[in-house]
């Protein structure tokens, strides 16, 4: 059985120019991520992991090399086409949630549908409620974001990323602002979503969180250092047990 390639990059490089100084953030990244994968990208700060995620997420363009997302060569698309790709194919999750303040969970989750131009979604509210149920917030639909805890806010953000059924979920340090218990809950949520068939890529520098994934890519100085299947994956139970031992 051959799985569909969601992401394929060839000799992807990104150079930042700041005046006369050139910084090679990514060098010759060859990466294939298939449907249903759950990938954790790790690396020290400055290793290029955020840059890679931004390029994968169509927020940034590579300086050279090719990037195909779901069979579409995206590095030649214009700004509006990139915006539409982000809207239709990618669900973003940020470290600091980036929800609209004083706005209900439901309205936040509906937001990607507002920018949808395909017209394939009709009942926004139903879709948003379904996404909130998926992340376990069915009873918080009408709560405003400032009335929710950090973990709950991140769940709203995940629901927002899920709502229009994108091909790819990208999470940039999704547990960076959460305590260990909440981090494990969020990581477990990713596992469940992955089990339901979602392709997920998360950036993290916490090994415990990364070990929930199926595959770990380690970056150093803009190059892939290691890329391996995680043999001994964490589960919620094992992670909680470990948490008890260490504290």
């Amino acid at each position: 059985m051959t799985l569909k390639k969601v992401i394929e990059t060839k000799k992807l490089s990104r150079i930042f120019k700041n005046g006369d100084i050139e910084v090679q953030a990514l060098t010759d990244i060859d990466l294939v991520i298939e449907e249903g994968e759950f990938v954790a990208i790790m690396g020290a700060s400055g290793s290029g992991k955020s840059t890679l995620l931004h390029i994968i997420g169509c927020l940034d363009r590579p300086t050279s090399g090719a990037y195909d997302l779901g069979g579409i060569r995206v590095n030649t698309l214009n700004k509006n086409e990139l915006a539409d790709i982000r809207n239709q194919k990618i669900g973003f999750i940020f470290q600091s949630y980036n929800l609209l303040s004083r706005t209900t969970a439901l309205e936040n989750v509906e937001l990607p549908l507002v920018y949808d131009r395909t017209g394939k979604f009709s009942n926004y509210e139903k879709l948003a409620k379904k996404a909130l149920e998926q992340v376990g917030l069915a009873d918080r639909i009408y709560h405003k974001t400032n009335e929710l805890s950090g973990g709950q806010q991140q769940r709203v953000a995940i629901a927002r990323a899920l709502v229009n059924n994108p091909a790819l979920i990208l999470a940039d340090e999704p547990t960076g602002n959460l305590d260990s218990k909440n981090s494990i809950d969020i990581a477990d949520l990713f596992v469940r979503l992955n089990n339901e068939g979602k392709t997920i890529i998360i950036i993290t520098h916490e090994e415990e969180i990364a070990k929930f994934a199926k595959r770990m890519i380690y970056l150093r100085d803009g190059r892939i250092l290691t890329d391996e299947i995680i043999k001994n994956r964490s589960t919620k139970e094992s992670a909680l047990k470990e948490l008890e031992i260490t504290t």
Binding site: H54, I85, F92, N98, L100, V114, Y115
Partner: protein, 404 residues
């Protein structure tokens, strides 16, 4: 749902969710518009009032005075005082000046049944009422016969009636001017404040003969007032008066006039230029309030849009196009500016009414002030809501997301 309608909803959601920010934004515009409307209206109202009052005096009015010169800070009379002789020569010979009246003014203490007041008594002939367009509401004016016999009668203004008769009908009653009893025979139509802010109803008018004989004792006039046959005849009338008075004063050809003739047209010209200065001044104040209001709107718009750079980044990241962001912010800016502008207009009009209630100074809200204030404020509001949003929408989404 069309994209525009969806964005409309998003924009109103954003306005509604951030009520204090929206209110502050509107407040800038409200104050800007109201301030501009009130200053410009006050300016236009003041100049209109002054113009109306001056032209209300009649444009064919002439005033003949003894020449004075300003020396070392005091007015020094240079020529022979005007008197009965001059008046009679003019009256007998002038063809361009059918109406003539001497004027003798005297400050005096006036006592009536309900109070007393120090006021100014004007001694004039019966022609005075025609020359100055002053009408009687109660009673009658005096006649040439009254002047000839120096009758102790007078016509009073509204202010005198209020102070001395508590607003009752004064006709037939007696008042005492510097202890001399006078019978009130008429009440003048109220005229309100004059050009220089003086009360034009604080006035008592009596035959000049009575004033000279009973109160004053002198034979000189303060001035001789005349009205020309028409506004066009005013130059002829002035020339005629000059010739007649030079002859009467036996001036040699190389001597200067020892009298001054001022026409209402000249007064209008002078006050016109004064009013122009006033208008420019008020315009300047209006512009300043416009600029201050504009800067206020600018500030709050800039701050609130800059504050939302991260929000813009988030929207871009989840797939908003640049045009989606722009449309949303434009709708927000236009809505806030329009609503704020309309509230500002209402407040400006109410403010003008309040000023009228407090000061009796009528300020008609000028249409141009509404257009200028509203137009400028809405323009500034939309421009400074739009351009920072445009800058943010053009940002690389990553930079917008990282914006602190």
């Amino acid at each position: 749902m069309t994209q525009f309608f969806k964005l409309f909803k998003v924009a109103f959601q954003a306005i509604n969710k951030n009520r204090s920010r929206s209110l502050l934004t509107m407040l800038g515009i409200i104050i800007g518009v109201a301030a501009v409307i009130m200053t410009i209206s006050a300016g236009e109202g003041a100049s209109k009032q002054v113009r109306d009052q001056i032209s209300g005096l009649g444009s064919n009015l002439m005033m003949i005075r003894t020449k004075t010169e300003h020396r070392a800070g005091v007015n020094v009379r240079m020529g022979r005082p005007l008197d009965k002789h001059d008046y009679e020569i003019l009256k007998k010979n002038a063809v361009w000046m059918p109406q003539l009246s001497p004027l003798v003014a005297l400050g005096a203490q006036v006592i009536g049944p309900d109070g007393n007041k120090s006021s100014t008594i004007y001694g004039v002939s019966s022609a005075y009422f025609n020359i100055l367009n002053r009408d009687i509401v109660l009673g009658k004016t005096f006649t040439d016969e009254d002047v000839k016999t120096a009758n102790k009668i007078c016509v009073i203004g509204e202010t005198i009636r209020e102070e001395l008769f508590s607003g009752r009908d004064p006709v037939g009653s007696q008042i005492r001017i510097n202890k001399v009893p006078f019978t009130v025979i008429g009440l003048l139509t109220a005229q309100g404040q004059g050009v220089m802010g003086q009360d034009q109803d604080d006035i008592i008018i009596a035959p000049y003969t009575t004033i000279q004989n009973r109160l004053y004792g002198g034979t000189e006039y303060n001035m001789i007032m005349a009205s020309a046959t028409s506004e066009n005849a005013i130059d002829d009338a002035k020339f005629e008066a000059t010739i007649l008075l030079r002859e009467a004063h036996k001036l040699l050809p190389d001597q200067d006039d020892d009298f001054d003739i001022t026409t209402q047209l000249e007064i209008q010209e002078v006050s016109g230029s004064v009013m122009n200065i006033l208008t420019i001044l008020l315009g300047a104040i209006g512009s300043i309030s416009l600029i201050v209001g504009g800067v206020g709107i600018m500030n709050i718009m800039l701050v609130s849009v800059t504050e939302r750079t991260r929000e813009i980044g988030t929207r871009l990241a989840i797939g908003a196009r640049e045009s989606d962001i722009l449309t949303q912010f434009l709708i927000e800016a236009i809505s806030l500016s329009l609503v704020g502008g309309i509230i500002g207009i209402i407040l400006g009009i109410l403010g003008n009414q309040l000023v009228y209630k407090l000061t009796n100074f009528i300020i008609p809200t000028s249409v141009s002030s509404i257009l200028i204030g509203f137009g400028f404020s809405v323009f500034v509001g939309v421009a400074f809501g739009y351009f920072p949003a445009r800058k943010a929408a053009k940002l690389n989404p990553i930079d917008a997301l990282r914006y602190e």
